[in-house]
Amino acid sequence: MMLLSATYPDSITFVLCAIVVVGGGLGVVLSNNPVRAALNLVMTLFGVAVLFVELSADFLAVVQVIIYAGAIVVLFLFVIMLLGVDKQEKLGSEPLILQRVIAIVVGLAFLGMIIGYGWGNFNSHGSYSVIGVASGGDSGIVELAKATFSYYLLPFEVTSVLLIIAIIGAVVLIARSGPGEDEVKEDISAEIKTDGPKEGHENDVSVSEDKVDEVRSVDFTVGEEQIV
């Protein structure tokens, strides 16, 4: 209790998380590879999740990881890999004139004004406990559930409808029309046939049925070849 009730572990956690969050955010913006950006986004998400724990919102922290990191970003990566849009973007050039300068100016102005106006008002008291107090040994999960399913029942229903709409919309957007399917498939089969294994990989097919017995001695030869 002595160690943990002190302030500095919290402060240290916060600082570390802030670094992770901001670093991850910058990584998203600055990395020229979308997969790297996604990884940085995951980093940010984890930082935010830890901050949630720090703010005694355990449940949200886990949900954040499950939904954001486990589903949304995976979806991002899935699409990136599926479409092969992981080509590296030229961050050095900007086709739109002044876009970058104005964007940075606007962004910094926004940040400055938010902080500037808010400074000194951040800790002003709002109304306390409109819905319910988040307390107890369950990290407020019960309170959260009560609030969600009673006070926020209508938004809850509306968002669920939104989710259904999104799913249906996505399916409609992705769904193919009948005739196009055949052409496309023919194209692929043509491409696949020509799509032979790449350099050095022909030798790599000695895959045993039982993977436990697999020694993968072939790797050496492959490696030598590559080195040579």
């Binding site: 998203v28 913006v29 979308p34 606007v106 107090v133 809850f156």
Partner: protein, 101 residues
Amino acid sequence: MSVDLSYYLILAAVLFTIGLIGLLVRRNVLVMLMCVELMLNASNLTFVAFASKLKDVGGQADVFFVLVVAAAEVVVGLAIIVSIYRKRLGATADDLSSLKG
């Protein structure tokens, strides 16, 4: 909570700004969507910080809805990207300027 609320809010503002600038600067549509996620996370952080400060679970409940909206946004956004990619072979925002006046 021992760390002052203002730090959380400033951190959220910084994160939001990063997302905003990224949205305006990056050309890859996927990265732009990620930047939107950053901004949503910043708002989530604000919500939870206030929920903790004001001891009101409502702020946490709001985050749920933000999460759902984010999920829906990503699903539809990615579907749009995929369907665009089928036709145009690219996911660069600047190519999609057929709506220009």
